[in-house]
């Protein structure tokens, strides 16, 4: 196992940030930690990378304990914190050289590993890191986290605030890095990114709700339907919610996604909808996406 997290608890004053968090990550796995802001993702990451000590429980990284053997842990991990933490007043290449030297290596020795990422910012290597755009900063931070060829790469919300194109490119890069045999643990608030992971842990209010293959998360037996209409679906949202059979209804792109209390209810809903005088309505049974599944889980919590 690359990473073992054993029954970790952590509180700040009266807030229980993590409650009995327990899971493991296999060698070479791309493991996602999915949850909204304030769920405890960053706290957990800071414990994993030896920057914070848990109140109870333990955590090992390739067998090294993150508290008693933190020096060993730090040598084998690469960590990209949520907040951009490179030196703004050093240039791109100076930042990279600095991180290489801190870990007792050189840029040249591991260049092949970062080549794909770094080449995209190399034309700007003389520019100060503080003057890079968001997407470029993120690529530099990833290069710096990789430059000592870590066994485990820990990325805390690397794509938050990043546009859809850069997000896609970033995940392509992660897949390649995984191909080099590096274990990756990554957190994100974007549900579509969860689909790119081998397994995901869903975290909400300091508790892990589920750990699973992203497409198997949650309760598979909840009937889910999509409602479409040429008149726009928002006008139908309130009406759907008022139906007795309806468990939940949410906007979902240009559709409404509706879950029902039981499979038997579906035909009753169809006949109700037919009375709404909107012939453009289409009502179809669908397979839940990761986002549907996650919403189902947190709704149960709420």
């Amino acid at each position: 196992m690359s990473l073992n997290v054993n029954h970790i608890d952590k509180s700040f004053d009266l807030t229980r940030a993590l409650k009995q968090v327990d899971f493991e990550v296999k060698d070479g796995e791309l493991f996602g930690l999915i949850g909204p802001d304030g769920a405890g993702k960053s706290t957990l990451f800071r414990i994993m990378v030896s920057l914070l000590i848990p109140d109870s429980g333990s955590c090992t990284m390739n067998g090294y304990d993150v508290v008693s053997q933190y020096r060993d842990v730090r040598k084998i991990i690469g960590y990209m914190p949520g907040r951009f933490s490179l030196y703004m007043d050093l240039s791109v290449e100076e930042n990279l050289a600095f991180y290489a030297r801190v870990f007792g290596t050189t840029v040249k020795a591991n260049y092949d590993l970062i080549k794909d990422v770094y080449q995209q910012i190399e034309p700007f290597k003389k520019r100060l890191a503080g003057r890079l755009s968001g997407g470029m900063k993120q690529k530099l931070a990833l290069s710096c986290a990789l430059i000592h060829r870590p066994d485990v790469l820990i990325l805390d919300e690397p794509t938050t605030g990043v546009d859809a194109v850069s997000r896609r490119e970033f995940w392509d890069m992660l897949k390649k890095i995984q191909g080099e045999g590096i274990t990756i643990v990554v957190s994100t608030p974007y549900m579509d990114e969860a689909e790119m992971c081998d397994r995901v842990a869903l975290i909400q209010k300091g508790t892990i709700l589920d750990i699973t293959n992203p497409l198997e998360m949650g309760d598979d037996d909840v009937p889910l339907f999509a409602l479409r209409s040429d008149r726009g679906v928002y006008t139908h949202l309130d009406k759907i919610r008022k139906l007795e059979e309806c468990r939940s209804a949410w906007l979902f792109g240009d559709e409404l996604h509706v879950t029902l209390r039981s499979h038997i209810d579906a035909s009753a809903v169809v006949s109700t909808i037919e009375c709404w005088n909107d012939p453009s309505i289409r009502w179809t049974s669908i397979t839940p996406s990761v986002e549907d599944r996650f919403m189902g889980l947190i709704q149960e919590e709420k």
Partner: protein, 244 residues
């Protein structure tokens, strides 16, 4: 939703240069009163630059721009009174309470004491925040903060509200509740000008524009754009436009 044909924002050949760098390259578009207008683009495409000009915080290099009937060169203070603004990064004062934040912003927008008392009560009630009105903003969850920030931004009933990535980082349910609030605001006649990186949210807009390298490359209803770019959703439209 019916949208009036009145142009609440009118932009013609807007250019903004920083030295030799052209951040906004002859932007021409308009926003109808009462619509939800999605202003999309990659990081660094020039969205924030344009929003700052429309909000009266920065002068354009050239172009004709009117916001809520006022000219952005000479009537910036008038514009500021008719708009609301909310960003993901900063919107409320962390070291003031829920109630203090509401009263501060209401005061800035020159509501009188009677209006403030009345509307504050209504607002707290509607958001379910009455029990925690004396809690510091820093101690309440992000989702509540964002909903409150939005309500504060439209507290003075502006003509237009500008929302800069309002839903970043919040959970998918809170994100959707937020969009329901946006829809409700349009029912009251408020025009919504919004940026987001969540492409499903682009579908909730009446019309969206997509900026690439300082220019508007596409502008239309989501359904029309999807058809035009032969894409199943707005994410695909965005990737096709922004990647080239």
């Amino acid at each position: 939703m019916t949208v009036a044909s009145e142009h609440i924002i009118e932009v013609k050949d807007m250019v903004k240069k920083f030295g030799s760098f052209v951040a906004n390259d002859r932007l021409t578009f308009h926003v109808y009163r009462g619509e939800i207008f999605g202003f999309l683009g990659a990081n660094g495409a020039g969205k924030t630059t344009a929003i700052r000009i429309l909000c009266g915080l920065s002068y354009p290099t050239s172009g004709e721009i009117r916001v809520a009937g006022h000219d952005v060169y000479h009537e910036r203070e008038k514009i500021k009174r008719k708009i609301g603004y909310m960003s993901q990064k900063f919107s409320l004062y962390e070291d003031l309470t829920v109630s203090e934040n509401i009263r501060l912003y209401a005061g800035i927008y020159r509501l009188n004491r009677k209006q403030i008392n009345q509307r504050e009560e209504q607002l707290l009630e509607r958001l379910g925040l009455l029990p925690i009105k004396n809690r510091l903003i820093r101690d309440i969850p992000l989702g509540w903060k964002q909903k409150l920030a939005f309500s504060v931004a439209i507290f003075h009933k502006p003509d237009i509200v500008f929302l800069d990535e309002p839903t970043g980082g919040v959970d998918p349910i809170t994100r959707r509740q937020f969009w329901e609030m946006i829809h409700d605001a349009t029912q009251e006649g408020i025009t919504v000008f919004v940026t987001t990186h969540y492409m499903d949210e682009a579908e909730y807009c009446d019309r969206v524009s997509i900026m690439v390298d300082g220019r508007i490359e596409a502008l239309d209803k989501p359904a029309v754009l999807k058809k035009k770019f032969d894409s199943k959703d707005m994410n695909e439209v965005f990737l096709k436009l922004a990647r080239n």
